[in-house]
Point group: C2
Chain length 414, copies 2
């Protein structure tokens, strides 16, 4: 092995306009280059407390137990599901895209009795559909994705909490793709648990998963408490429930680490925590509502631009997330060739798709740091050139004009 073959990290500049990860906010990357401190340094535990406070605002909740799981967004999902679901528990998962199947899959690995409710990709569920299925199945948990990037759809959750309350169902959502760029009201909507990720509208790198859990959910998890032998003392009492079949994802232990007990669990990923704190701080400094409005503005401008090109959109766009758009690949156009051209010659990444949509749609994101006018216009301008080169005719300049018209109607020029 010739070690000199391995140079410093120096990737080409990419404009990431896919379903995420997107370019991280430079302020977040700077925060992440901060030198480390010890995990029980009072400065560190103070930062941990601040992270809890900041993410309560991001989740719109008063839940005390709002913290980070050290792993990517699916680590957040799995921590909640493994900590809450006992083998044999009945769960209902309404599935409207790939990440719904992921919830089924994780619940299955928790040995839950998993019930699927499916709808066509590109659509979402009505509250009635979900209520009917809850009445039929009588699940202990309802697990549902909020925004599923695979179809670009966002499931309205506003009325679901009330239904869950009525039938004593614990209500969880995966808000990885939606949080920060779309309305999400943990307390108002009656959610018992929400998990998220950094690499979409929050504008950070993948690797940390913010979660929040309600009092009711906390009780379920605390009932399964079990302290590690290596750090057990007489004061620590175990719960009466079935143990959690993971140490790393045992939220009861993670609570003892984030809470006033400060009982050792993992060694907090300090750099990731610094990044997560900065993501939340930057968003809240502008205001969460303003951040969501920014995602809507630029998402809509992208949509108008794509329509201006004469391209068709995928799914019921009334239920589209602000931050992602499914674009039907026109007949005769090789979708992968276009993506390759965009990436290699223009330095712009747009997304491919999963499962039944593979090869049928591109997914174009406008999120986090890249929910900006210049990103939208660059992407449209370059996509027009590439489509022109592969022989898809359109009115030159129409895409950018349509987007600019939208900005002008919204009176936002910068």
């Amino acid at each position: 092995m010739d070690i000199n073959r391995y140079s410093q990290i120096n990737p080409p500049q990419r404009l990431l306009m896919g379903p995420g990860p997107i370019n991280a906010d430079p302020r977040v990357l700077r925060a992440m280059s901060t030198q480390l401190i010890g995990q029980y340094d009072p400065v560190m535990t103070h930062y941990m407390n601040e992270v809890m406070e900041l993410y309560r605002k991001i989740f719109c909740t008063d839940n005390y137990w709002t913290m980070l799981i050290n792993g990517t967004s699916r680590a957040g999902i799995e921590a909640i599901l493994l900590s809450a679901i006992c083998p044999g528990d009945k769960v209902l998962v309404p599935v409207f895209g790939r990440f719904g199947y992921l919830l089924c899959e994780i619940a299955h690995r928790c040995r839950a009795k998993v019930n699927l409710l499916e709808t066509q990709w590109g659509t979402v569920f009505t509250p009635d559909q979900i209520e009917d299925e809850i009445k039929k199945i009588k699940p202990k948990f309802l697990l549902i994705v909020h925004g599923d990037t695979s179809t670009t759809m966002i499931q309205p959750l506003k009325d679901i909490g009330e239904i869950c309350k009525k039938y004593h169902v614990i209500f969880y959502t995966d808000a990885t793709a939606s949080i920060g760029g779309n309305e999400l009201e943990t307390d108002l909507w009656g959610l018992d648990a929400v998990s998220a990720g950094m690499q979409k509208c929050l504008g950070g790198p993948s690797g940390t998963a913010p979660i929040t859990i309600s009092h009711q959910m906390k009780e379920i998890i605390r009932h399964r408490k079990c302290v590690e032998k290596g750090i057990r003392t007489v004061e620590h009492k175990d719960g009466d429930g079935e143990i959690i079949y993971s140490n790393y994802f045992d939220i009861s232990m993670i609570m003892d680490y984030w809470g006033p007990e400060r009982l050792n669990h993992h060694t907090e990923a300090t750099t990731a925590l610094f990044g997560a704190r900065e993501c939340a701080r930057v968003i809240l400094k502008d205001g969460l509502k303003k951040n969501i409005a920014r995602h809507k503005l630029h998402g809509d401008a992208m949509l108008k631009g794509i329509q201006g090109m004469g391209l068709k959109l995928f799914g019921n766009i009334e239920h589209k997330m602000h931050n992602i758009l499914g674009v039907i690949i026109p007949k005769g156009v090789n979708g992968e060739q276009v993506r390759k051209f965009m990436l290699e010659d223009f330095g712009i990444e747009i997304g491919t798709s999963f499962g039944p949509l593979h090869g049928k749609i591109w997914r174009i994101g406008t999120m986090g740091y890249n929910a900006r006018k210049d990103c939208v216009l660059q992407t449209l301008a370059c996509l027009e050139q590439v489509l022109n080169l592969v022989g898809f005719p359109m009115i030159p300049g129409a895409a950018v004009e349509s987007a600019l018209e939208h900005y002008s109607l919204e009176n936002i020029h910068v």
Copy 2:
């Protein structure tokens, strides 16, 4: 909430001379401030391949399946144990410190039949002790910590692989605390799986766990393969074995993500990967052997200095890790007061202890970026002052002189 109360991340400068995390190498932090690229960008998958190559050298192995788990070091442990152990499997865990109990705990949560073999904290096992227990228990897996920071001991593993082979036992070690600063020979010692962490001798921040698995271990895990429904196509065949009771830690799926299939699993924590790559690159540029020798040199200098102060060491120091030292808190000295003084007034962190050693020893580390002469001398100089202030008498200057004498004997002045 007044968001202006939350300023930029700006912790005080600390010299971290505890059991880890330690100060990250500035080159690693710089690598981690690099802008992101897409997870299937050819540049990114090339970096992933390079990470595999670099960590093969760090683990001293030819194992193809050498990669990162996105989580802290115990995520690496849990990924291996959950992916390999089926409920009911018999495991043997020789325990010589707190992290041995952690292996028991995780194996218990995998629903293994867990057999402990214990020895007094501060000692390690002889190969005979382990062989006798293997003969008695006939386990499927031997799980053992390599270096346990709780006691500062390192378990010699050189002869254990041969024993495991003889009795058809799968051999795993947790090398979080030892790797990079102590000899570790994955292939030569017949290890089937090793996991590690970044925040000790590798000189990075906690948050990624490098792992390596042998062909034999790969076969066990592949047998349990199960592809997610959302991305399943006809070409993907499931194994015949029992499913793995975790999606996030399913190494068979993580292999499909790191391998040529590039099947989507989690979204790789790019920033953490950039950091992990730089840690390995920096070490290998100097040479792994030189890096281990550096840990020995500065660890020994610290030991001589502490002895020069008239302080006693904990445990059988013949089996001490190079990078960590247990120092018995002298009678009449309040250990926590000393640590607080050191941290708050001198900006230097030394470690406390767990379980039976709590309040009895300090743990002083010399590892990764902080395995340096200046770090050793600063720590000794300041500790002398603090001990003097709390009324523990010693010959002024003796500690630093003893350390300097060691450096001079080793002919290393810088």
